[in-house]
Structure formats: structure tokens, C-alpha cells
Symmetry: D2
Subunit: 472 residues, 4 copies
């Protein structure tokens, strides 16, 4: 997890998207729409590849989808008879030369030109990379996608689908990928299904892959189904094919429902908005409080706040105005930056004046933003502030696509709930229980490694990272 100074939320690393069209289509434009709908999953870089079976265009750069793809640039990847495309948005964090690491990654292999984009992490990428280096491989980037591409290229006797399946077996972790050649589209999801990937189809027959259903709707496709954990799907002139490569106990990432996925998305059969309302209701049952008003931290606490209000009977109100321009780059003297950014973003309304407030947020990472919000409410006249959190305390880093922070920065890994309460200055503080969360999500398996330290898809050997780090 990384710590955005404004939101202090875990940050999703990426969103992926792909299209296969049996008829010529303006895939550059559709991919732009799909990526725009996935923008919340990554704001630092965006890119896409488009092919018509012959030409193979790629554009990518740092910035939002709408910044990277201005009219000129979108035109530069447009192909009148496009058949295949993939796209990627990325939230990235470190390294001086991020530009060279942006996705999709493209390369020429014995299977033709390939483009690959992934969401998530291969926990043994470094070992595989080291082994291949010794065999004479080149690595232009530090991007894990390149390891996957090298594995595919090495299987020079196999076709692309077989080679991709072989590569899946060699790499471990939590991931969802889209891969294209000039003529076909492939999607695959790790054996535990940690990262989401859904399949859709348009009325004209074009197939779509996306991290979330909202991107399907954005291109006029309806949701067909989720790609299954461990499944590889591919699309060609004959339509959709499926290959079950290696299935394990499904443990999709619980944070997709808690915070990441849009509230109009449904992941692995469970609606995000509904699950958030259930989290709020569960929280009200588990951690009730006597109060006058339930207020969400906008926008991510909205669903749980509605649920908490509904279950508790305490009125819901809009107690924190959110400045819609607050996402923009903002100049601030560094020492005041964090405090100012919160203040410029959130501002209490009269709804909290003289009230005992139940404040609902989805998570607490470092707690610094939480403290400021509590403070804002008190200054605005709230008589009591009861903080309720719709996720359990985050005590462990994530290794499956949410950028890792040092464990010591996670306030809940070093402080008790009571200590955190004191730190953030709330009158009471309570988190949803892990079983309560699981039930709100639907009672099925989920990855809660960041709450429990139990990593269903393994952990990396971190020690070697620095030795091999390439700042390119």
C-alpha cells in the first residue's frame, strides 16, 4: 500500500482492458472509453495497443487517460480496420524513470509482435528474471510484464496460447492480464483470482475484457461473466475459448469491495454498492453508538454510511463537502502540504454543528488524514465524533498489486485500536470484524492478507530487489 497524502487510502495499482472485434471497429476510441471508466484504478500512466492484423500501434505515457490521449495522440493509434486492442491505467510509485515502465509492454517475438498489460504482481518474478538473465536474456524495463513476455518467447515450439499457459504455471502471485498479438486477444487470471477480470460482449459481437464491469458498460458491452481464477480465455474468429490452467481456492481481494471497485461494479458475482451497504449495516450491529447523525467521508464511505444509518436508525446527512477540484495538482509549502490538502478537499457542512456524529470511512492506513477529518468536524461544532471503519485494521502489506509500504507505517500494525482512537482524536473508534466483512461480501473466500498476514498466493523474496534495481 502506498500512502496518498490526501486520501491515506490503499492505492490500486492498475486497470486492464482489452477488445477483440470480429468486425472492423474503432477500437482506439472504444479502448479510450474503457480506460476512462477504469481511471480510478490508476492515475499515473495510461497506454494502449491497437492492431488491424497487420499494423500494430502503441501509445503510452505518464498522465491521466485524457491527458495522455489528446486528439492527436488518439488519432495516432487509430486504425480503420482495427480488430484487437488492449489498454492499461497505472498507479505507480517509485523510480526516476517511470515513463519507460508504463504499459502495455510491447515486444517482437517468434510469435510475432505481442502487447501485454497486467494488474497485480508476480511474487517470484525476480527469481525467474535472474535465471533468464544468466541464459542471455535482455530486460529493457523493470516491469514484471517483461518477465512474462520472455517466458512466452522462450517456448519457441509452442503456439501463443500454450506458451502463455506454460508461463502462467511458472509465475506465482495475484494478477490479471490481457495479452494481444496482431490477430488475437488473451486474458488470464491467477489461480486464486486475487485480481478481478470480467468478460463482456457488444451487440456487434465484439468481445471485451476489463478489470471491472463499468468499463464494459462504457463501451456498450454487457457483462457475460467473470474470468475464473486460474482460467485463460482467448478470442479469435471462432469466438471465446476457455482453458482452465490451474485453479486453486478462490480468494479475490476484499479491498475491491471495500474501496477499489466503483460502486456500479459487480465482482465475482457480488455487487460492490450492496456489499458496502451490508458492511455499514454489519458495522452498526457490531459497533453501535448513540448519536445524532451518520456522515460519510466522501465519496468512499458513502455506501457504508447509508447502511449504518439504515440499520441504526440514525439519520444520514452530507456532513463533509468534497471539493471536486481537489484532485488537481496543488501547490503547497511542503511543511503544510498534507494538512492543507485535506482542508482544501474536505469541508464540514452545517449538518454536524451541535451533533453527535458517526463518521464512516472505509479504511485507516496511517491515520493522519483521519485525525484531520475528526479535527475538522470538531472545529465545525460536532459535540462527539464516533469513527466507524468498514474494513478491519490493516496490519500487513499487500504483495498482489497494491504497492507495498513498509509495515511500520501501517498505524494498525503498531498500535491498538484504543491507541489509534487517541491518535486520531475520536470519542470512539471501531472497525468491522474480519468475519463480519467476509459475510458482507457474501460469505465466500476472500484475500484478507492485509488484515491477517495470511498470503494465499505466496510472498516474494524481497531481499534481492535492491541488489538488482534498475532505475530505468
Amino acid at each position: 500500500m502506498i500512502f496518498d497524502p490526501v486520501t491515506d487510502k490503499p492505492q490500486e495499482e492498475c486497470g486492464v482492458f482489452g477488445l477483440y472485434s470480429p468486425v472492423p471497429n474503432d477500437l482506439a476510441w472504444l479502448t479510450y472509453l474503457g480506460l476512462f471508466a477504469l481511471q480510478h484504478r490508476g492515475q499515473e500512466a495510461a497506454g494502449m495497443c491497437v492492431s488491424d492484423g497487420d499494423k500494430f500501434h502503441v501509445e503510452k505515457d505518464l498522465g491521466l487517460v485524457t491527458q495522455v490521449f489528446d486528439e492527436r495522440r488518439l488519432d495516432s493509434v487509430r486504425l480503420p480496420n482495427a480488430r484487437v486492442s488492449i489498454g492499461h491505467v497505472r498507479y505507480s510509485t517509485t523510480g526516476s524513470n517511470l515513463r519507460f515502465n508504463s504499459q502495455p509492454l510491447t515486444t517482437r517475438t517468434n510469435k510475432g509482435i505481442l502487447g501485454l498489460a497486467h494488474n497485480g504482481n508476480f511474487v517470484n518474478a525476480l527469481e525467474v528474471r535472474t535465471e533468464m538473465l544468466h541464459e542471455g536474456a535482455l530486460f529493457a524495463t523493470t516491469n514484471d510484464s517483461e518477465v512474462m513476455l520472455n517466458l512466452i518467447a522462450r517456448e519457441s515450439q509452442m503456439d501463443l496460447v500454450a506458451a502463455t499457459a506454460a508461463a502462467m504455471k511458472r509465475l506465482r502471485g495475484g494478477y490479471a492480464c490481457v495479452l494481444m498479438s496482431r490477430t488475437g486477444l488473451i486474458g488470464f487470471r491467477d489461480p486464486h483470482g486475487v485480481r478481478p477480470l470480467v468478460i463482456g460482449q457488444r451487440e456487434d459481437g465484439a468481445w471485451a475484457l476489463a478489470s471491472e464491469p463499468c468499463a464494459l458498460y462504457a463501451v456498450g458491452a454487457r457483462l457475460i461473466r467473470d474470468v475464473q481464477p486460474g482460467e485463460l480465455v482467448y478470442f479469435d474468429r471462432d469466438g471465446l475459448h476457455s482453458l482452465m490452467v490451474e485453479a486453486r481456492q478462490p480468494t479475490p481481494c476484499s479491498f475491491e469491495w471495500i474501496y477499489f471497485a466503483r460502486s456500479d461494479s459487480k465482482i465475482d458475482g457480488v455487487d460492490t454498492h450492496e456489499s458496502r451497504i451490508r458492511m455499514g449495516m454489519q458495522l452498526a450491529r457490531e459497533k453501535p453508538v448513540d448519536a445524532d447523525v451518520v456522515v460519510p467521508v466522501p465519496d468512499s464511505g458513502m455506501g457504508a454510511a447509508i447502511g449504518y444509518a439504515r440499520e441504526s436508525g440514525i439519520p444520514f446527512d452530507y456532513g463533509l463537502y468534497k471539493n471536486p477540484y481537489a484532485g488537481r495538482t496543488f501547490i503547497a509549502p511542503s511543511q503544510e502540504a498534507r494538512e492543507l490538502k485535506v482542508k482544501m478537499k474536505l469541508s464540514p457542512t452545517s449538518a454536524v454543528r451541535g451533533k453527535r456524529v458517526v463518521l464512516i470511512d472505509d479504511s485507516i492506513v496511517r491515520g493522519t488524514t483521519s485525525r484531520q477529518i475528526v479535527n475538522l468536524l470538531r472545529e465545525a461544532g460536532a459535540t462527539e465524533v464516533h469513527f466507524r471503519v468498514s474494513s478491519p485494521p490493516i496490519t500487513h502489506p499487500c504483495f498482489y498489486g497494491i504497492d507495498t509500504a513498509a509495515r511500520k507505517e501501517l498505524v494498525a500494525s503498531t498500535h491498538s485500536v484504543e491507541e489509534i482512537r487517541e491518535l486520531i482524536g475520536a470519542d470512539t473508534l471501531a472497525f468491522i470484524s474480519e468475519p463480519g466483512l467476509r459475510q458482507a461480501i457474501g460469505g465466500k473466500g476472500m484475500c484478507g492478507a492485509c488484515f491477517t498476514g495470511h498470503y494465499p498466493a505466496g510472498t516474494p523474496l524481497l531481499n534481492d530487489v535492491d541488489k538488482l534495481a534498475l532505475e530505468v
Copy 2:
């Protein structure tokens, strides 16, 4: 009113801000914060002047506050011992050379260098301008501020305050202005108080003027009071002075409460968020309906939706997800642009599926966006859509600072409520009554010219505009 193709809302034209500090202060930085808090009042241009009593710096350009003032540009207006500053954000609409019309306007006169920024409109500006042209005056811009400045400069025997008061008497309309010299700050509001202006003060003694209190809070000032209709206030080393120039029956613009002002603002003593909840409650009493869920059009319908739900007992829910990136420039084939933009901005959640929905919005201008939203809800499974609007039907253009559109584009000026209902495809449609709105705002005087055609501060002679239009 102009019609933003995405929101189809009336568009506020401007926000103004000013500071007078008895001690040296980083006024460029504070003005930046103040303007950022007023960004919702104007997104097309931003500017500020700063003086330390000797130097007088100005920067302005097209763009958002954060775009115009990058680090280099903010530094370029910074003065270590700044004492006075003003700032402006603008929503503008026509003309090929908008850059030259942005505010604050600065000029050198016999009273020294002056900077002026205004919100609103002088309805007789054209007559005064024509008269002065014949007397040998130059007009570098088509901005009404320049007329005010010429009037002030003409009174060469008066001091700045007296000359400004004389100019106020000469110009009619609905406006709020901030005016600065190298050593003093002046604020004034038209005799009817159509446009808002508030006074605040920081703990270090610095005075602030702003269109809304949220900008006071942003610079660490508390709200002292509203500038009164017809009042001129000025600040110098002795503090705050007041001069009542010409007071009439107060008729502040009702749309500040309905839509324009932030929900954390209080205008002329009435809290916006509370008044919106009252509008929703009033609407529920006036226009009840049997339904399953109350859903706001985010974010502007939020307050009224909470009020409607509260009064009616129908559950509130978050039925339309709003993409926070939707404000960005977005490429779209022109023929599909409007429809796509709505779709990329708003997306129904599961909250509306199988439900009878009460959809709450603050206003309907052309109705095109409303139709699309109703359609989105139906596609997402809403069984009934009952549209409720927290403002009366808009039938007349505004001449007091909200850009004028042809009356024929206002759907309510040519269609009955039933015709509009049919147009937008709702099951039922109802607007709040004008008396009901008035009561929700507080029962005091208000300008409702756009609902009634009664213009308290007069109307312009429009016919001459084209003849004199200067495209500069």
C-alpha cells in the same frame, strides 16, 4: 444562463476574493487558496493582483486556478511584504479572444494603479460606455469592469472611495466587486444585493472579502458578516470602514442556495445545506409520491434528496455513481458528444434495480440531460422514475451575472410541466413552488427573475450589443 452540455445547469459567472493585511503576509499564496475554494464559481479563467504598497503585480490566464498558477507563475506575483490583493475566477462563454478579457482588470489612473474584479452584471454598462467613448475614452476590453474603472478615473477631484461610490450610483444591475489600489482594498455590492459578498478576518488581523464564506475558511479567516446590499466597505490601516451608498429592497439571487454556493457556505445569514434540505422537505410535502428509494443527481441534488427522504420516509440511496474524472476534457465524436459525456459521468448503481425511484435534481434548463439520466435509470432496472426538482421552472434569462441564453432554449419557457415530463420520459415530474422555495430559503426577499420575469435591478438594452461588439 448558459448550457453546459454535461450538466445542463445554470452557470455562475464569477467568484471574487480580496485581502488587506495590516502586517506583511504571503498574500499571493492566500489568494491562491481563496480562489481554489471558489473554483466552482468559474472554471475558465483565473487571476490575481498583489501589491506591497509599491510594486503591483498581476497574473491571469485562461484555465483553472491550479492550471493558471503553477509554481513559477505564483512566484511571479509573490511579494515578501504584500499588503493588498484581489483575485477572480471566471466562467465565460463567448468571444474569440477571451484571454484579453480575463480579470482582475488593471489600469493606471489619477488615483494610482487600480485592480478591479467583479461578479455580476451592470445592465446599463453599454450606455455609459458609449457616452464615454464620445468623450474620448479608450476601451481596451469589452469587460464591464473597464466601464467602472473609467467612471472612477473621471472623478478626478474625488478620492478613490468617493469616486467609487459615485460610480456605483451611475451603474445599475446585480454585482459584487473587489477593488484595490497599492494601499487599500474596497468591496461593494449592488443596492439589491443580488450577488453575494462576505467579510472575514484572520487571527493576525488580515481582512478578507469573498463571494462565499468557504473562501474565508480556506485562508484561515472567520466569517464576520455579509457586505450589505448597497454597501461599500474599505480597509486601510485603521481597519474596516463602511459607507452605505444606496440601499434598496434586498433580493439576493435564489440560485445561490439552490445550486451555486457550496454546501458549506452561508449567504446573507442562511445556510445553503440546510436550505437545500428544507427545499427537499418542502418538495416532499408539496409533491409527494409513493416510491421505494430517493436518489440524488450527484452532487447538486444531494441536500434536497436527503430532505425529501427525511420528510417522506422513503429510504435515501446512492443510485448514481459520479465519475470524479468526468470534469476533464474528453474527446468525443461531436454527434455523440453530449450523450457520451453524460454516460461517462453518471452510472447507475444496483440501488435502483427493481425500484420505484424518486430522482432529485436542483433544476432543469434544457431538459436534455434529464432525459438521459431518466433513461440510464430505466436501463438499470428502475421500474418507475419520479422526477422532483428543487427549483421552480426556469422561464426567463438572468441579467445579473449568469450568462444569458436565448429564452427559447429554456425548456420551461415553451413547454408545460406535463410536456417536459413527456420529453424527459419520467413517470411523474414536479417542481417546488416559488413560495415554497422562498420559505425554504428563509422567507426573506430573493431574486427569482428567472422563474418570474420580474427583474428587481432592471434589464439591459440588448439591441445595441451587436453593433458595438469588439472581438478582442
Copy 3:
């Protein structure tokens, strides 16, 4: 004079251009070509106005002509039936807000919309400005053009030509101006003709005004004649009209021939390239030396070097390579900036190795660059360096359009020729004599104020400048 750290040359302030076409023409495009040909006269800002008799477009900004007018911006001033246009390039120097001072200046007056661009200086502008301020005038800029425009507007009973002539009589100095309304073009030159202005005509009948003939050729016009000192010319449907407003003894600026004007230009009947060759020949006669090779400082010393070689019989050679990319913005640690810039710009060739070099430059302002060039030649193996300058020593500032520097920075105002020689490290140093220069230019009157301190068109009252300075 200002001191460009790289060239250490006097800097021309501006170039002006104008077109009047009896038939519809793409005047924006032609003005772009004309300004491009005048780019050497000003690199800091560029602008133009275009009118078709109805619309009146203007664009201007900081930057080179090709930077200010990219395709989008040139299109924004294009009018299909354009009849009149003016343009301006500017070399400017001080002030924090140069953008607001760029030309052409446009304003609306009782004579309609006017655009004005000038080259040169009005020495009594400040007095006139002060007087008009007291009468109630506004000055949006510190640009002298605005004083001229105010004077024109004040004559509300006169037509535009008469009012302009009246304004000419009121202002003193050295200047050349182009002025346009929606339907006519005016050009005028000060009574002494200090700054140049030429008239040309295209085959399609369109008239052109320009600071130099090269801009006429660039738009396919041939040179008709120079505007006479003190003459006002105007163009309307009937063609070219002339009004002799006030003629004095002609004293055109000698630096136009020495350095400013392009070597393909002819000013007041005297060809620049030929006059430079004559300067070199005169210098060879006045200040001969025994040497092996004559080397110009490129490119400005080229003509005089050819002349010196021709008269002396010493072979001409290309001894200093000039990097064509040296004009670009160049990052350099400030302490080394000047030295590096010279070194990155000029580099000795083998032509000077083991040779006694006559180095020809057109002028010496501060002498710092000269010292570095002499040093470069010695390092490259020149055994002797004899510095010859085709202008007399510059001892006084210019008040007619070449930006003024403090007199004490002019090395020749405080040092003897022998002291300068020692300073720059040359074996010998000699300047052309003032009579010799006059003869090379053609024996007619010329302004040599910067050599002699005799100012034919008067001097300003400098003391008041600071008091009124407006940093806008």
C-alpha cells in the same frame, strides 16, 4: 542599448508590418511571412491584428513568430475576406509582466476599433501620459503606443487621419508606426526619420508597410519607396495617400546599416550590404595593419570583413565557425554562463592557426564578448589578433527605440581605445571614424547619437520614470 550576454550587441527593439488589400486576401498568413522576415528585429514577442471590415481579430504573446503563431493560433486570426492587418515583433527587456505590454495594442475609440504597433520611442510620452491621467484617462499598459492611441481618441471631432497627424505633432522622438482601423491602414515616421519604414506593393494591388524591404519581398511585394521623415501615408480603396505632417533634417539611425538591418535590405536608398563593404574598405584605409588573414565575427562582421580584405589585399577566411543552434535556450550554471555561451556559439577553424589575424566586428558595447573571442583565437594558434570595428566607439545611450542601458556599462564611455584594447587582449584595436562611417553610409545625414551624444530628436526626462513605473 541592452546587453545580450551572448552577442554583446545593441538590440533593436521592434519591427512593424502592415497590409492593406483592395481584394480579399489571406492577410494573417502574409503578415506571418512578413513578421518572420523581421524576426531579427525582435525575438521576445510577436503579434498581429486582422480585419475584414467587420470582424477585428488580434493575437499576440511572448516568443518567436513561429512559437506564438502555431497553426491553431494563426487560424484563430484568419479571416477569409481580410482587408487590413498589422503585425509587430518586439525585443523587450524589463518588467515582470511583459505579456501585457506586447503589441499591437488594440482599443475601442470613437473612431472605432484601432490597432497600433510602433518601433522606436516617444521621448515626451511620460509628460503627455501624466497630463492625460489628470484629465481622467486610463492606461492599461506602460506601452507608449497607448499614449498615441489616447491622443488620437481625444480628438473626437477629427477623422482618424487628422487625429493621427495631430497626435504626431504632440509626440517627439524617433519612431515608425503602423495603425489600422477596420477599413484602413496608416503608416507614419517621425520628422527626423530615425526609424525606418518602407512601402511596397504586390501584383494583386495589396499595399505593404514594413520596417525593412526584406519583409516586402517575403510577401511577394516590390519596394516602392521609403516613407519620408515626418510623412504619414494611408491606404484605402483609392490607394496610397500621403500627408507631410512635419519634416525636419533627416537623421536615420546609423546602426541600421552597421548592424540591425538584414544584409538584403535597402534603407533610405542605401543598400546595407554595400554600405558594410564600404565600411570595411574605409576601415582598411583608416586603420591598416600587416596581417595574414581577415576573419569576420559571424554573421554581423561578414560585410565589413569582405570589404577590409578587398581593400587591404589580405585574404578573407572563415575563421570562426558559428553553431546554428546557439540561439536556443541553453542551460548553464550562472557563473559560467556567459563564457560558455560564447564558446558554444563560436569556435575557431584551422584558418587562424599560425596566422596574424585581422578580426572584424561591427561594434563593441561592453567588450566582454570581444575579450573571449580574442582569447579563442589565441588558443587556436593565432599569432596576432588585430581587432577592427566598423562603428565608432559607443559612448552614449540611445533614446530612439534601442533599449537604454546605464551609460557606465558602455565600455567606450569610460575607457580609452588603448584601455579597451588592453581589456580585450588584442594586439591592436581600431574603430572606424565617425566621418568615415558617414561616408560609407552615403554621405547623408544620420543619427549618431550613441557615438556623439548629440540627440537630433530630443531626450526624455528620465527622472520621472521610476516614480510612475507600473509593473503590469
Copy 4:
């Protein structure tokens, strides 16, 4: 050769630069200076790598050196204790995604991170690339440098120097390369020495490699010697080491002396400026003419014109003014673009009026620009134009680093000298002879493939290019 619409000259593809410093040095800054001095060898892209033995930074992009490396970007590659760096400037021509092909290329291999930049061409790159693809290699770019890097990585048992020597033996063509690891710098030149590479050293002991000596001087280094044809040099803590990999008959590219190299450079022991004067003298002896003035096409015809004038006794003059801003991007309606660009760039001075002119240029590629220049001279009053060219007719494409154009576009491959003369409208036309050129260069071996069709370092199998083209 490609045809720049303005100059119609053969275009050099690249310049390379490298530094190895035994003491910590600001290598980013020095590399910037070195690349700036090589800017004439490539204007489309620039890049550099810098390492301090641990960190390894790279930046590259499309644009001039001064555009790519603004202050922020130069800082981003700066390392306080830098020891090794390489840099590259590129003139490139085709492909939609040039950005991804810019150099230096960086990759991680079993020999650590490597950066490579090359000038020239490997004629068998495609065969080697195809072979390696089949073995499972990835190619991220279409850049030949990547083939070289793959070859180096494959030799996993050898050290970097040995592996590089092995790769040299495998690749054929005309090239000069710089290669760096974190701790060492390597330079090598093809066995025929077609492309130049020189070695220099600074007083602080730092070693430099560069395409031309001018880049050595720019960083304060003196020229030590040329890298020999077929030689590999490397630098480490012990200083300079040499390995002769494979030497053949030296045939350095003759166009370096004719046109490419700066006139202050010396290549393989022969001074460019002196050789150009000798070419002019030779041309005067071979192709004399009775005329009044010798005029160069600036700037490339300067040296030969001085030589022609010196030998023939006809006076040299500056007959064509060259607009120093002509290199900038220039808007032009496409149909007039070429003609306008020549006209905006070159303008005749009075030196040609009424004269019989000998016009000296270094080469004729398509002849279109030549025709326009002849035309300009005639319009300016030249009575006769005798065109003399200091290179033989270009009849064949180059395969050693000058971008190839279709042979049919080379006017001399399809027209006789008399036909070309008629085409360009000259009174007489003559080229230097091939033996005359050889003698002017110094009588040693040279590559004159573009005159003779004899390719000393082989030719590529062009047919496969399209099949494998990757538009990335």
C-alpha cells in the same frame, strides 16, 4: 540519404558521445555540452545515460538537445559522483512511434545494466535479428542497437569487452558506437572506419569519445587521436585500453569532409575546413569559368567558395543572406511549402546584381532547391549563374548511417550533368571529379559509395525489411 525539403542535402543520422571520469564529475552537464556541439549530426532526438557505479539514469526524447534537456530533465539524470556517461543525437526519418526507438538503448543483462548508442548501420542486422528471434529473444524496438546488445548478452561466459568484440565480428557495416556499463566505457568503430570516432582527454583526467573533435573541445578536452578502423577502446580505472578487433582497408565516409562535419573538426587527421578550401581550389582548376563574383550557398558552401575564389582570383562575396530563424518549425500551405521555405531561408544581397555569379554548393541531391536558388539569383539581377559543386554527382544510396532514399529520387542517377543543368536553370554546371575530391581530402582511402556504387562494407538484404517491420 533523405531529402530535407529545405536543404536537399544528405542527412547524417547520428552523433555519439561518451565520458569516463576517474574522479567524480558532473557528467550529465558535460554530456549535454558534448551533445550540443554534435547537434548538427541529428536534430530529431537526444538522450543520455549517466552512472556513478551504482545508480544508472537515462533520459531521452524527441527534440533538440536543448528541448529534451530542460533544467528539470537534466537534473533528473544528474548524479553527484558520476563516473560514466554516454549520449546520442539522432536524425531519424520513418515510423509512427519514433519515441520508443530513440537512443541510448538501455537494458539489463548478465553483464549488468548496459547503455548503447550508435552512429551508422549494421548491414546484416536483420539476418541476425531473425535468427535470435527464433532462439527466443525479445526485441522491444526496431533499433539495431538492440541486436548488438542481444549479441553481447548471449556471450554469457565472456566479460563485457570480449563479448563486445565477438559481437563486432558478427555484425557488418559502417558504424561507430559507445557502450557503457555502470563502471566502464567502451568505444568501437567498424573495420573500415566508415563512421568517425575520436578520443579526447580533459586536464582532470576524464576521457571522452565523440563523433567529432568539436564535442571534445566543448567539454574542455583535447583531441588525443581517432579510434582506428576496427579498433575497440575501453576506459577503466587504469586508463585507456585498446583492442584491434578486425582491421580492413580504411574507407572513411567522404561526406564528413564535404558536408557533415563541422568546419572546426578534424577527422582521421584531415582538417575539414582546409579540405573544403582545397575542394574549392580543385574545382576552380578542374572547372574554371569567367565570372565576376564567387558566392557560397550558406553555410555549407562557404569553405569551397573561399577556395574557388582564392584559386580563380574572382572576388568572393556574401551573395545569399541566410535567415538564422529558418530552422524553426514554419507553418506553410503544403503546396507552397518547399518553395516558401527556401525563400524564407535564403535571400540574395546586392552582391549579385548585374554580376556573373559562380555559385558554390557542396552537393546536389534532388536538385529542386538548387533550381530555386538559381532562380532567386536571377530575379535579384545576376546576369549569369555558374553552378559549381564540391562533390561528385550522387548516384547511389548510402547504407552506412545516412538514411537511404530510393535511388530514383537521386537526380544524378537518372540525369546527365547537362540535363541537371537544364533542370536547375544554371548557365553552366560542373561537379568536382572523384579523384579531385580524393586528393582534396588527402589522397587516402575514402568511402565514395554514393558516387560510385562500390560499397566497401557490404550491402543489406533489403527485401526482408517490410515483412518484419514493427511500428513501435
